[in-house]
């Protein structure tokens, strides 16, 4: 956190001053470790084993915050008797289908809800990263469940969890993660001792956690711990994701993502969402309780915002205009399609996949096989110059005179040359004022896309083709101003907020959205950001003039709420758990919820409220159902539906690992997304042969002095001089083994590429001991490329493409490689080197074995 989010780290230092203990877990000793109380080096890719060990420690010692767990989690809920655990199936759950490598989830359901899984198609959901739509809410489940308040029932979640994690002992943590038991116990004790009524503990991860083939389950494990310890919805608690880009949260909420529409509404699927009613019912799930009951209003209002007058109740608000998914249209599938010649044109908008995405060669070969490419950036980045300055040009794989891709480089406006909102990592929208006009041809994306749309609409003005109606009917009348005819960002923000169609009055809350066409709402979760016609995101009341929650600085979705599920900061009876941790509570005299934050609960619903039998929607939530966006109102220790790879986290080895999974016969995530394409390959892992060809683990991350793929730092002299070269950090032990000298050169080889880096021999890296075997890890920054003031090889070139099955994010935080002293060869010799490794590793094409246990045959057969 000190390394990648230094200014956020000031609050950790504040906490430290007040006596907080800080533990830091990382494969390498970083600037964060230097300031932590205790540092735990870990083998990259084994976090679930570590966190699973904590879960076991909590359950075995009954250190959970029992009152919280009983009231606010699904610990007491009874699970179907059809369910079988990884304990029984050697690392697989019940329902595994080895033909599609997906699970049927009927057996995972709550008891009596088995039919809930009936219509789901796991393969389809994986292809469309369906899990992502649950960023704002849980998957649907029926509201009425069987419970055992004593937590003794063998099939209640609490007992299932206990059995599932029983083998995650301190010894197993040591064997898997390389973390000595004493250290593990120090962490376990501190975490549990600092949670409860009087104290809370916080778990902070940077989004490297997401770049694993089990990334979602990493975060799930963290959530389980925080729920068991009562750390959710409370001040000083939570699971905090430190996201790495100024508005990456915003670009998920208002998605430039293939499978989502604004506000986590799903992009329609061609078979599941043929009609408008299919679509909204798949979101609202008639009969379930909670706020999603209003999905029809959110969907109708979005379409109304898109298509204005053309969108009417009679034509289902132009629902027919929406494009339909048929499968995986994610960025990696798309790049492979580029290589196969299926994609004509590509826009890059402030993003540099030639350096920043996994498998750089695939990225560049894809771009070299387009009709045209539009790059919009501040700087001439590697993704704009792949045709003249790339490793493939050096090896002859891309020949400029033979590369047909037409490239447009359009200069972009910087953050001070345009106005608009960023949504930061805590869901807070902050409006930026414009300081000055952009220089010369530089323009904002708002300008570019507004005017591109304007020109396209002019070109289609005379068209009577049905396919062009969606473009012609689009509401595209944003007012412009100034010499550059810059569209009004505030007008767009008002549309995002939503308004009453007849009067133009901005809505104040998403509860005002209607399904009859009388409201238009661009992104329902953002409704309120323009309440009363005031740009709430532009509020800048000084921190000196308001309390510590600072509710009048910017605006947080939803409803300016700063801590989600904050009903859980009070006990079931509505009183704060403790005076020092009070946050939101029930004011019995006034008959309403109150506190420092906007209560995440119906304001007037008393803690004692119990819904009448059969009540659905919001009224179905009881007065102590703190997790209001979940179908059962509970925080989920066990996920009966919605995840591809299991209802509980399970340690699987990374797709590339030198280590056989110590916990199960199943080696790696059995549902991970694998692409069969000749350009892609996966280095062998046990139980395959030839794992000795790539014996070392490498992991990558950021340096404080640089930013992601370097496009905003290698081009900036002040930053370039601070970290001026690509390097690899190695432990003294590995340096001795390989004969690497400090400040000398080394090259690293994977099945995809070979790259070189200068060597930093440092005590900050350590070998790890697992089962008596020593594992070496190295670390590299992923900021470098061939353009800019300081240059170097790109480490993402070493990675292949393997994805998490829930969200289709690639595993690019851990891989295997070989390391040799000296510089890498160049030209054809470089290709020969990699080919030689591929031959020796047996990488002759075809997918690696996915199932590595025979348990599935027992189950399926």
């Amino acid at each position: 956190m000190a390394e990648a989010h230094p200014v956020g780290f000031q609050w950790v230092m504040e906490a430290k001053l007040r006596g907080a203990k800080v533990f830091h877990v990382d494969p390498r000793f970083t600037r964060t470790s230097a300031l932590a109380d205790t540092y735990l080096p870990i083998r990259a890719g084994t976090d679930i084993a570590l966190l699973g060990g904590i879960v076991r420690y909590i359950l075995d010692n009954e250190l959970d915050f029992r009152e919280y767990v009983l009231a606010y989690t699904n610990a007491a809920t009874i699970v179907s008797e059809e369910f079988a655990d990884t304990e029984d199936l050697d690392g697989l759950f019940s329902g595994y289908d080895p033909k599609t490598n997906t699970y049927g989830t009927r057996s995972w359901q709550y008891a009596g809800h088995e039919q809930n899984a009936g219509t789901r198609n796991a393969h389809k959901e994986r292809e469309t990263a369906a899990g992502l739509r649950h960023e704002s809410h849980g998957m649907p489940v029926g509201g009425r469940v069987q419970r055992d308040e004593t937590l003794q029932h063998p099939r209640c979640v609490y007992q299932i969890l206990k059995r599932h994690f029983a083998r995650y002992t301190p010894e197993m943590v040591e064997r898997t993660c390389g973390i000595p038991q004493e250290k593990f116990l120090e962490l376990a004790r501190a975490w549990t001792e600092n949670s409860g009524r009087e104290r809370t503990g916080v778990l902070i991860y940077s989004v490297g956690w997401t770049q694993h083939s089990v990334g979602v389950q990493y975060i799930r494990t963290g959530a389980i711990i925080q729920l068991l310890l009562g750390n959710m919805g409370r001040p000083g608690g939570g699971v905090l994701a430190l996201r790495g880009h100024a508005s990456i949260q915003g670009s998920t909420d208002i998605p430039t993502l293939f499978n989502l529409l604004p506000g986590y509404l799903p992009m329609p699927h061609h078979t599941d969402h043929v009609t408008f009613t299919d679509w909204v019912d798949s979101i609202r799930h008639p009969g379930q309780k909670g706020f999603w009951d209003d999905a029809r209003a959110f969907g109708a209002s979005l379409l109304k915002a898109y298509w204005g007058d053309a969108a009417t109740p009679e034509n289902d608000f132009c629902y027919g205009y929406l494009p339909r998914m048929t499968g995986d249209h994610g960025t990696y599938q798309t790049v492979l399609n580029m290589i196969d010649g299926k994609v004509k044109g590509y826009f890059l908008l402030g993003q540099n996949p030639a350096v920043g995405s996994a498998h750089g060669k695939a990225q560049r070969l894809g771009m070299a096989n387009l009709d045209w490419l539009v790059v919009r950036d501040l700087f001439m980045i590697e993704s704009a110059t792949f045709w003249k300055n790339s490793p493939e040009v050096e090896t002859g794989e891309i020949v400029p005179e033979e590369c047909r891709t037409e490239v447009f480089f359009l200069p972009a406006a910087s953050h001070v040359e345009k106005e608009g909102t960023f949504t930061q990592t805590q869901r807070l929208l902050q409006w930026r004022e414009k300081a000055l006009d952009p220089p010369a041809d530089a323009r904002s994306e708002l300008w570019f896309f507004f005017h591109l749309g304007r020109v396209i609409r002019e070109k289609l003005a005379g068209s009577d083709r049905p396919r062009d109606r969606a473009v012609r009917d689009l509401t595209w009348d944003y007012p412009t101003h100034g010499d550059l005819a810059e569209p009004s960002a505030e007008a767009v923000l008002k549309e995002i907020n939503g308004y009453e169609v007849a009067t133009g009055r901005p809505l104040s809350s998403f509860t005002e959205a209607k399904d009859d066409g009388s409201t238009a709402v661009g992104c329902w979760i953002y409704t309120g950001v323009y309440a009363d016609g005031v740009n709430q995101a532009a509020r800048r009341k000084s921190r000196h003039d308001q309390d510590w929650v600072a509710a009048e600085w910017g605006w947080a979705w939803p409803a300016n709420r700063r801590i989600l599920y904050n009903r859980a900061s009070a006990a079931p009876d509505g009183r704060p758990w403790s005076e020092r941790k009070k946050y939101v509570w029930w004011d019995a005299d006034k008959g309403e919820w109150t506190g420092y934050d906007v209560p995440d609960f119906e304001k007037k619903k008393p803690p004692t409220y119990r819904p009448p039998e059969g009540t659905t929607g919001v009224a179905g939530l009881a007065g102590d159902d703190a997790f209001i966006m979940q179908g059962d109102g509970k925080g989920w220790l066990y996920v009966p539906t919605g995840l591809q790879d299991g209802p509980m986290p399970t340690h699987y080895e990374p797709a590339e690992s030198p280590v056989r999974n110590p916990l199960y016969g199943q080696q790696a995530n059995p549902t991970r997304k694998v692409y069969d394409n000749p350009v892609n390959s996966v280095n062998p892992s046990p139980p395959q042969e030839h794992t000795d060809v790539f014996p070392y683990v490498f992991t990558v991350s950021r340096l404080t002095e640089h930013h992601t793929a370097g496009g905003m730092s290698r081009m900036v002299p002040r930053l370039a001089e601070l970290q001026p070269a690509m390097f690899v950090e190695v432990s003294p032990e590995l340096a001795g083994e390989l004969g690497l000298a400090h400040l000398g050169w080394a090259h690293l080889i994977s099945g995809r590429a070979a790259i070189e880096a200068q060597v930093l021999v440092t005590d900050r890296l350590t070998p790890l001991r697992l089962d008596g075997r020593v594992i070496h890890q190295v670390w590299l920054p992923y900021h470098f490329g061939r353009e800019g003031i300081v240059t170097g090889d790109s480490v993402n070139d070493l990675f292949g493409i393997t994805l998490d099955p829930n969200v289709l994010i690639q595993e690019s935080k851990v891989g295997t490689c070989d390391i040799r002293p000296g510089r890498r060869p160049t030209g054809a010799a470089l290709l020969e080197l990699v080919d030689d490794y591929r031959r020796r590793a047996g990488l002759t094409g075809g997918r690696p074995p996915i199932v590595t246990t025979d348990a599935s045959e027992r189950e399926v057969g």
């Binding site: 000190a2 780290f9 032990e733 400090h742 200068q758 790890l768």
Partner: protein, 347 residues
């Protein structure tokens, strides 16, 4: 009038330099125990003061690629990797299959290289054995020799480790030899008690370079003039905080009236001692030291030499100071020499 203590001993320097109704003396307290080594101070300083780059070389001195305070770097964050206890509850590498520490060897290898900072004397090669001693800390028993890192002599395994970071800056001495030797009046004492080079006066004679007991002052090539931290004289005049202190994410760099900072620093040291960090100590805070105390003083977690600071800054000779420019270069104890010869020069 000229009083005895104008040239040594405790003194409030601004009134002594003729400022009537001078404001409180302002300074920096840099608390290295909370420094996260982010280098925001280096960048914020360069952005505000328009300081040029100081070269794009990988120095291999841990994460320090700046190397030293120069005319082109007025803040410098030193990074020291040491196989020493850091107050961690459990040593970072306890139980791991480690061998001997490499940090002394790595520091030695890095010290042998030079880089062009665009300044003079800039960043000359340092002395490997001194750098190794620095990285190992005072308890280190031997030089790693010529073997590759990892095969070094020394303890059998390394379990303890700490990573020291420290943002260095001009000390704005109470008795500033640079100012005293300046023949043009370019270097002067401001009303805030700080020491500033006036770029419209400096003629590049370079006397100040040799005079500085900390090796801070340096000349810019091509320009020839001496440049260093001004404690953001222009910002101070507007009632603002210097750029580095304003940016510092963790309040490692604190700015304020020196009296207040000294009090705060004493409390911080006491608190750290209470929390089991006995190695915390102040540097440059003492008005009775060889320079009359510094306007920019530090809380350190090791001997000053480890950070590349002179242990007893009194001396101003021509050659010794620049040896301090490189972290670890001058870990050997240096005897104090007379300052008087230079003091006469300006009066």
């Amino acid at each position: 009038m000229i009083e005895a203590n104008s040239l040594y001993g405790p003194l409030d320097p601004a009134p002594d330099a003729g400022w009537v109704e001078a404001p409180a003396r302002m300074g920096f307290f840099t608390d290295t125990s909370v420094c996260i080594g982010c280098k925001a101070c280096e960048v914020a300083c360069k952005e505000w003061n328009g300081v040029p780059d100081s070269g794009f070389d990988l120095l291999g001195m841990s994460y320090d690629n700046t190397g030293a305070l120069t005319a082109n770097s007025w803040r410098h964050v030193a990074f020291i990797e040491q196989p020493r206890p850091a107050g961690h509850r459990t040593p970072p590498f306890a139980g791991d299959p480690t061998g001997a520490a490499a940090s002394p060897g790595s520091a030695a290898a890095a010290a042998g290289t030079a880089a062009d900072t665009g300044t003079n004397p800039g960043l000359p090669p340092g002395r490997p054995e001194a750098a190794a001693r620095m990285a190992a800390g005072p308890d280190f028993l031997g030089m790693p020799g010529s073997q590759p890192p990892g095969r070094a002599t020394g303890p059998e395994s390394r379990t303890d480790f700490r990573w020291l970071m420290m943002s260095d800056v001009c000390k704005h001495c109470t008795h500033a030899a640079c100012l005293d030797v300046c023949p043009t009046g370019s270097l002067f004492r401001t009303e805030f008690g700080t020491v500033v080079v006036q770029e419209d006066i400096c003629n590049g004679c370079g006397y100040c370079i040799a005079a500085c007991p900390y090796g801070v002052i340096d000349q810019r090539k091509g320009d020839g003039r001496a440049w260093k931290c001004t404690l953001c004289y222009d910002r101070l005049g507007a009632g603002m905080t210097p750029a580095c202190a304003q940016a510092c994410p963790t309040e490692s760099i604190q700015f304020g009236p020196l009296d207040e900072l000294r009090e705060r620093a004493a409390q911080r040291v006491a608190a750290l001692h209470d929390r089991g960090v006995p190695e915390a100590r102040l540097y440059g805070h003492d008005p009775t030291d060889g320079v009359g105390g510094d306007g920019a003083f530090f809380l350190l977690l090791d001997e000053p030499e480890v950070y590349g600071l002179p242990p007893d800054p009194v001396v101003t000779t021509r050659d010794l100071p620049k040896m301090w420019k490189r972290a670890g270069v001058a870990a050997l104890a240096m005897a104090a020499a007379a300052v008087a010869a230079f003091v006469g020069g300006s009066s």
